[in-house]
């Protein structure tokens, strides 16, 4: 505001006294301004307050389970509401495992999409394809779940697995009988759901890479692909890692679609074809009909673990993406 007023009020042209009076008028903030700023500040501070309250509620409701099970909660696999014994290892394992499967599938595809959209696609094709990929994120989770149950699982079990079994069947990763609901089904559904997030953020990151970086690469005689691989991607590396971690955060907390296709079994299994469970799915299934206070408390504790993981993951992603596109809303909007 100060340099603006300085530009308007040329001291040489205005009598000194009037100029001073105007300066004073500009400096005294109107009462409306004070109220305006105060109201907005209060609204804005509701966000940190909300985050804090979520943490407080989760922790305080989880206390009974914490004092009864301690660290054993994270390392034991028994989940028996009737006898009141709770160990969340299968939940934590399933959450991480299904998310890693999702990343393995989604990251190369999403990166290729981002590269396609920023580097290779003809100009007229870029906006429509970007919109279509973003629309993937608009499809509600429960619809992916519905599609997973009735289309994806039969497709994986009755067609793809029939073809792949002779080749992959002897690997431990694919051992056991494949009934359908499994880490694999959950991972595939999750990969579809997080791909648009990773692609959208990576695209913004690649767009933020200065054109002269590309020109320098091409001028050195690199092909367009070599420029992308050797110059553009390394330049945006921090942001792309941020995008991947952002996708990981989405996958870890995704609830409905996973609940519908992962099989909901409290066991740890290394085989992708076996059913499992995730923290979010367990809360979705058991919270409303928890049989005891300890059961409820154990679910809160599982929720607190999930909350902690996602907050750390998102904070990390945010810092990495901000390093590339400083303070901008890249990846924070609804896509």
């Amino acid at each position: 505001m100060t340099d603006l007023s300085a530009a308007i009020l040329e001291p040489e042209l205005t009598p000194r006294s009037t100029a001073e009076a105007r300066w004073r008028a500009l400096r005294t903030v109107s009462r409306g301004d004070v109220v305006f700023r105060a109201v907005l500040t209060v609204l804005a501070l509701l966000l940190p307050f909300l985050l804090l309250m979520i943490a407080v509620e989760l922790v305080s409701n989880a206390m009974p389970a914490v004092s009864k099970f301690g660290f054993g909660f994270l390392t034991h696999s028994t989940w028996d509401p009737v006898r009141g014994e709770f160990g969340a290892l299968p939940l934590i394992f399933g959450t991480l495992y299904s998310s890693v499967v999702a990343l393995v599938i989604a990251v190369p595809l999403a990166l290729a999409c981002a590269i396609f959209l920023t580097e290779f696609a003809p100009r007229w094709l870029r906006a429509p394809v970007a919109t279509l990929i973003e629309l993937l994120a608009a499809v509600p989770s429960v619809i992916y779940g519905l599609w997973g149950i009735f289309v994806l699982i039969p497709l994986l079990r009755d067609h793809l697995w029939k073809v792949a079994r002779p080749v992959l069947g002897h690997l431990p990763l694919f051992s056991g009988v494949f009934y359908g609901p499994s880490y694999l089904a959950a991972g595939v559904i999750l990969s579809v759901m997080i791909l648009p997030y990773i692609a959208a953020v990576s695209r913004e990151v690649l767009l933020a890479v200065p054109a002269d970086q590309r020109e320098a690469g091409l001028a050195l005689g690199a092909t367009r692909w070599e420029t992308v691989w050797g110059v553009v991607l390394p330049y945006g590396r921090a942001g792309i890692i941020g995008a991947v971690i952002l996708g990981l955060g989405r996958a870890l907390g995704e609830t409905m679609a996973v609940t519908m296709v992962i099989g909901n079994r409290h066991e740890v299994a290394a085989s992708l074809l076996q059913p499992g469970y995730t923290i979010a799915a367990a809360i979705a299934n058991e919270f409303a009909e928890a049989v005891s206070d300890m059961h409820l408390s154990a679910l809160f504790l599982a929720g607190a673990v999930l909350f902690l993981i996602t907050v750390v993951v998102n904070a990390l992603a945010r810092v990495l993406v901000w390093r590339v596109a400083r303070g901008s809303a890249v990846g924070s909007t609804a896509v």
Binding site: M1, L4, I8, V29, G32, R37, L40, T41, L43, A44, L45, L47, P48, L51, M53, A112, C113, F116, T131, I133, L135, L136, A138, V139, P140, S141, V142, I143, G145, L146, W147, I149, F150, V151, L195, T223, W225, W229, G249, G253, T255, M256, M260, A280, I283, A284, F287, L299, G303, L306, F307, T310, V311, A315, R318, S328, A329, S332, T333, A334
Partner: protein, 280 residues
């Protein structure tokens, strides 16, 4: 020369792979939409929109209770979440350069990543447990909490797109800062803010997880805000997991209506945002 040929061929191959990746990425969208139309369109008729669920064994019945429920719960969410979200966004754009702005921006992004199921159990502890029963009100608040960080960040982005010269012109005309912000800056950005809100609303309209222990769902038509209420995604979830063929059929139809609602809102929103960005 031989090496160059290889490099060029390799480049072309990789370029081709990125094309293939784009096609592969869009494939699920097409597959989901196609399946919804194939399996759902046949069950959509007048009854589907005006009748509620019927007891098992009777045929017919519809999703009227769920559609109305979704409209009510999402309206509640807007009433709770949009003022806070938009206010926060204006704060971030106008006064957000300091430490408070940095913290709020960071927290908004972290909140945006908090799983919606966690928001759901939080809403349960504050609104369901003290009241002693599930309610549409709690569901609306849970969805509202999800709206806040998204709308805050889109609003901020939209307000920042307004050229500074407009702000300066208003101040030069003697407007106090709040009038310059509200009557000139926010008004100029209003279209963008509105569409940002629409995108966010489209996202929460399809949310199921936060409603599981707040609005809970209801087999009957209800407009009572303090009681359990049905919602489209909840109804789809319950029917999809149910054992009956009739339920599956209705789940597909409900999903089709839900996705039409969501895609219509977000496509309109996107079209306006794009037009706005090109002008800005």
């Amino acid at each position: 020369m031989h090496g160059n040929l290889f490099r060029r061929a390799f480049g072309s191959a990789m370029t081709g792979l990125t094309y293939a990746a784009a096609v592969l990425a869009i494939l699920p969208l097409a597959a989901v939409l196609a399946m919804l139309i194939v399996k759902g369109a046949g069950s959509i008729n007048w009854d589907f929109f005006v009748k509620s669920a019927v007891p098992l064994g009777e045929s017919g019945g519809g999703f009227a209770h769920a559609i109305v429920g979704t409209l009510i719960v999402v309206s509640l969410a807007c009433a709770v979440g949009l003022p806070i979200g938009i206010g926060t966004g204006v704060f971030l754009a106008e006064f957000g350069s300091g430490r408070t702005g940095f913290v709020v921006r960071f927290v908004a992004d972290v909140l945006n990543g908090v799983p919606s199921i966690v928001i759901g159990i939080f809403a349960w502890t504050w609104l369901v447990k003290p009241m002693g029963h599930f309610s549409a009100l709690a569901g609306g608040c849970a969805l509202g909490m999800i709206l806040v960080p998204i709308t805050a960040r889109t609003t901020e982005e939209m307000v920042r797109l307004v050229p500074n010269s407009l702000r300066e012109a208003a101040l030069a005309l003697g407007y106090p800062r709040w009038r310059a912000a509200l009557q000139v800056v926010v008004r100029t950005a209003a279209g963008g803010i509105l569409t940002g809100c629409l995108v966010a609303v489209a996202r929460v309209a399809g949310e199921t997880a936060p409603l599981l222990f707040t609005a809970l769902g209801n087999e009957f038509f209800s407009t009572r805000l303090t009681g359990p209420m049905a919602a489209l995604p909840l109804q789809v979830y319950v029917y999809a997991l149910g054992p009956y063929e009739e339920w599956h059929r209705q789940a597909w139809a409900g999903a089709l209506v839900l996705i039409m609602l969501v895609l219509a809102i977000s496509l309109i929103a996107r079209a306006v945002v794009r037009a706005k960005r090109q002008r800005a």
